[in-house]
């Protein structure tokens, strides 16, 4: 509630500032990337989690998964320089990122549900070099824990991504890299490989970014867009053992979950600052695991050998969210390498938090016939009296 009031206050101040004297001098924007704040909520249906231990199946009961994510990024430093021959722009962007995730794996058999939290503050560096190349690096240390027993479950982990994106032409790009991920309910360095066909500001584009997502985007207007997607999601969490899910003396055990969300997403962008999305679909290939480090260590097993594994049935899911961008940015209209930078920045998800702010900062390409939508105050500054003769 307090957060909601804060958002309303910030929004109000922005609306008021927009109505100031138009002749007053404004500072020129320093950055190409606008700060963005986003929130989303993900929830699956409830179903039986039938695993490899009947005793635990009975203890745990039905399973569903809820997740809420708050995330924020802001540029800290931007440097833009032209190459020696003045024909290509090199840009460097340093950003701070923040994310806070609450995961709630809900088991109907447990008297109190666990709130697994993950809070991370990170740094992200993106360099756009020449006409085709974008280099991307992100490192985010995160505190994981179980809110039902913070003292015993807190642990520091980190997520990271190192990637390169090669823009062949505005309608084709390739991406390669490596990411430290918890996507498969484990700690892994995973290779990233991807390609996009179609312009980011065009009517249709196909984006294949493995191992995370495959999506087909359709943007009929600048206000509405939708996409059909298949997205891998998962995580590894510290889980309090106060329910004695593991019958040892452990205070904390590990919980891993993974699955694929196949769905359709609708985006609504009423203006330059906000976009909303609502998506739904079917979550399949779901798996959950419980691990005990102490048991595995004592028995010379690999650290993440599960003592319980279940495959909950496929189920429907809903995912809703909003993104708020504020402030002004340098002009990047028509600059496709900058669009690649926006796309990498918006789709990077260190720690696999299901953060999906969307590419609201890439404006759908205009058509000449849309000039009819322009109002006089939009172009006042462009007109000199000589133009009228």
């Amino acid at each position: 509630m307090r957060l909601l009031l804060l958002i309303l206050m910030l929004l109000g101040s922005q609306v008021l500032s927009a109505s100031k004297d138009s002749t007053k001098v404004d500072k020129m924007p320093k950055h190409f990337i606008r700060p963005a704040f986003s929130w989303s909520l993900y929830a699956t249906g409830e179903r039986a989690a039938i695993g490899n231990r009947p005793v635990l199946n009975n203890r745990l009961g039905d399973y569903r998964y809820l997740q809420s994510v708050w995330s924020f990024y802001t540029p800290l430093y931007t440097k833009a320089t032209f190459s020696a021959d003045s024909t290509s722009l090199n840009t460097f962007h340093l950003l701070a990122t923040f994310n806070s995730v609450i995961d709630r794996p809900e088991f109907s058999g447990l008297s109190e549900q666990h709130r697994l939290y993950k809070t991370g503050v990170g740094l992200r560096a993106i360099a756009g070099l020449g006409k085709n190349l974008v280099l991307f690096a992100d490192a985010t240390p995160m505190i994981f824990g179980d809110a039902t027993d913070r003292a015993n479950t807190r642990v520091l982990r980190w997520g990271a991504t190192l990637a390169a994106n090669f823009l062949v032409n505005p309608g084709l790009s390739f991406r390669f890299g490596v990411t430290r991920s918890f996507l498969f309910g484990n700690k892994n360095f995973l290779p990233m490989i991807g390609m996009r066909i179609g312009k980011l500001d065009g009517l249709v584009y196909l984006n294949i970014q493995l191992p995370r997502t495959v999506s087909l985007h359709i943007q009929p207007t600048e206000k509405f867009a939708f996409s059909i997607y298949s997205r891998t999601q998962g995580g590894l969490y510290n889980f309090s053992n106060k329910d004695s899910i593991y019958l040892g003396n452990d205070d904390v055990i590990q919980f891993g979950q993974t699955g694929i969300a196949n769905g359709i997403r609708f985006d609504f962008r009423p203006g330059p600052n906000f976009n909303f999305f609502a998506s739904g679909g079917f979550a399949v290939r779901n798996r959950i695991w419980f691990y005990s480090y102490t048991y595995n260590r004592a028995n010379d097993l690999r650290p993440l050998a599960p003592f319980y594994e279940a495959k909950p049935q496929g189920t429907i899911f809903v995912h809703i969210g909003l993104t708020w961008r504020f402030g002004k940015s340098k002009n990047a209209q028509g600059n496709y390498l900058m669009y690649e930078i926006y796309d990498m920045n918006n789709s990077s998800d260190p720690g696999d938090n299901n953060t999906m702010p969307g590419n609201g900062d890439i404006r759908r390409a205009a058509k000449a016939k849309e000039m009819h939508k322009v109002k006089l105050e939009d172009v006042g500054d462009l007109i000199k009296e000589a133009d009228l003769y």
Binding site: N169, P272, N335, A368, V379
Partner: protein, 151 residues
Amino acid sequence: MKKILLLILFLAGIAAVELSAQVGPERVQALRVAFITKSLELTPEEAQVFWPIYNNYQDKRDSCRKALNENKRVLKEHKESLSDADYLRIANEEIKIRQREVQIAQEQQTALLKVLSPKKVALLYVAEEEFKKELIRILTEDNNTGKGGKK
């Protein structure tokens, strides 16, 4: 239920504010890209190098325009209290900024000639003027038919 209603109201409020928000500069930029790309018949390869250069100089021109606007604001708000020395300083600044605009145009042309043919660089000036005139024509038409004008 109450929370959901509150959330819906909040989102509806944001959407209403956003729909009425001024999107002029952003929209005009997008239209300019469409118009100039079409007028100059830029290939995707040419567009890829042209727009970062053009936007960079556009930002510099905007900076000059903002400085001119600031001087206009000072003249408007402090007309009675300014001294002759202040007026002279502002008048000289006006000339300096206009000279700076010419210098920016010269630098832009030098940079563009490295990536576009002289014909396309020359036609850019025509396209920029045509873009403005097209906007004026549409606005005048809309005004006459009662569709456009001030909100």
